[in-house]
Symmetry: C2
Subunit: 157 residues, 2 copies
């Protein structure tokens, strides 16, 4: 029933996104390959006023479900998708996604990214996953360093 | 690359869940079939102190991405997965999932559930999707009635 394909990083960037209308619930991202990934977690950043979904590629989901995340295996990609927080128009007790605010990624390759804990930091530009420059990567890693014991990942629940 | 199978409601309840360790990121649900579904939205219920992920089966995702949600087609199932809110242990500006608090479903069958807007209300008991009793269904429908113009679904942004 379930068809899990091992996707390479290169192949992921080529995945065609499904067209979406502006009114559709799943339409508020920029249609990167992560849209078809499965859920690892959610968060609400009270300081930045963002709500987020944390998604994983097949390697990430397999690692998470088998508890093999110390370290996460090479090939893992974790996506952090952010929207501006918004009060639901008809249910003000609920904070829900507003405007799409970007999608970022952590890519595990212990050798390639040895200088930053084995993780490469990237972001999606439309459908394309683009590596961050050195300055931005250093900024990402600086915050993630406090999670060294959890292999630098905040989502561990 | 993508393999979408049309799953029947019966088949969904038979889907085997992937074993998960208590430490794994994706381990805090009760392993219903919805764990492999794709994301429709997230929410933070400030009154109930829950954070939530809204997931859809293949029919739901196809409808959402093509903008055909007025009405959602028969066969749609939308899952609302809830966790108690929790402050992240190392990043207190972030509200993240704590204890798993249940998973509920809306099942679209315009004929079968005509009395409640075409939606059946259900919940997962472990891997099994169980229809709510009449009293509970009436309570669900009572709140969803204010969303009649959006086919009774809150997640439409």
């Amino acid at each position: 029933m379930r068809n899990i394909t091992t996707l390479t990083f290169t192949a992921l960037t080529l995945l065609a996104a499904i067209p979406a209308s502006a009114e559709a619930p799943a339409a508020k991202t920029e249609h990167g390959a992560y849209e078809d990934w499965r859920l690892l977690g959610v968060s609400h950043r009270l300081d930045k006023h963002y709500v987020r979904a944390i998604l994983g590629n097949d390697a990430a989901i397999a690692a998470a479900r088998s508890g093999k995340t110390k370290p996460w295996p090479d090939g893992t990609i974790i996506a952090k998708v952010s929207w501006k927080e918004q009060t639901h128009a008809q249910w003000p007790q609920a904070v829900v996604p507003g405007e799409f605010a970007g999608a970022e990624a952590m890519i595990k390759d212990a050798k390639r990214f040895a200088a930053t804990g084995g993780w490469g930091f990237a972001h999606w530009e439309g459908k394309n996953l683009v590596m961050n420059d050195a300055e931005k990567s250093a900024a990402c890693f600086a915050c993630h360093t406090i999670r060294q014991e959890q292999d630098y990942v905040f989502t561990t629940q």
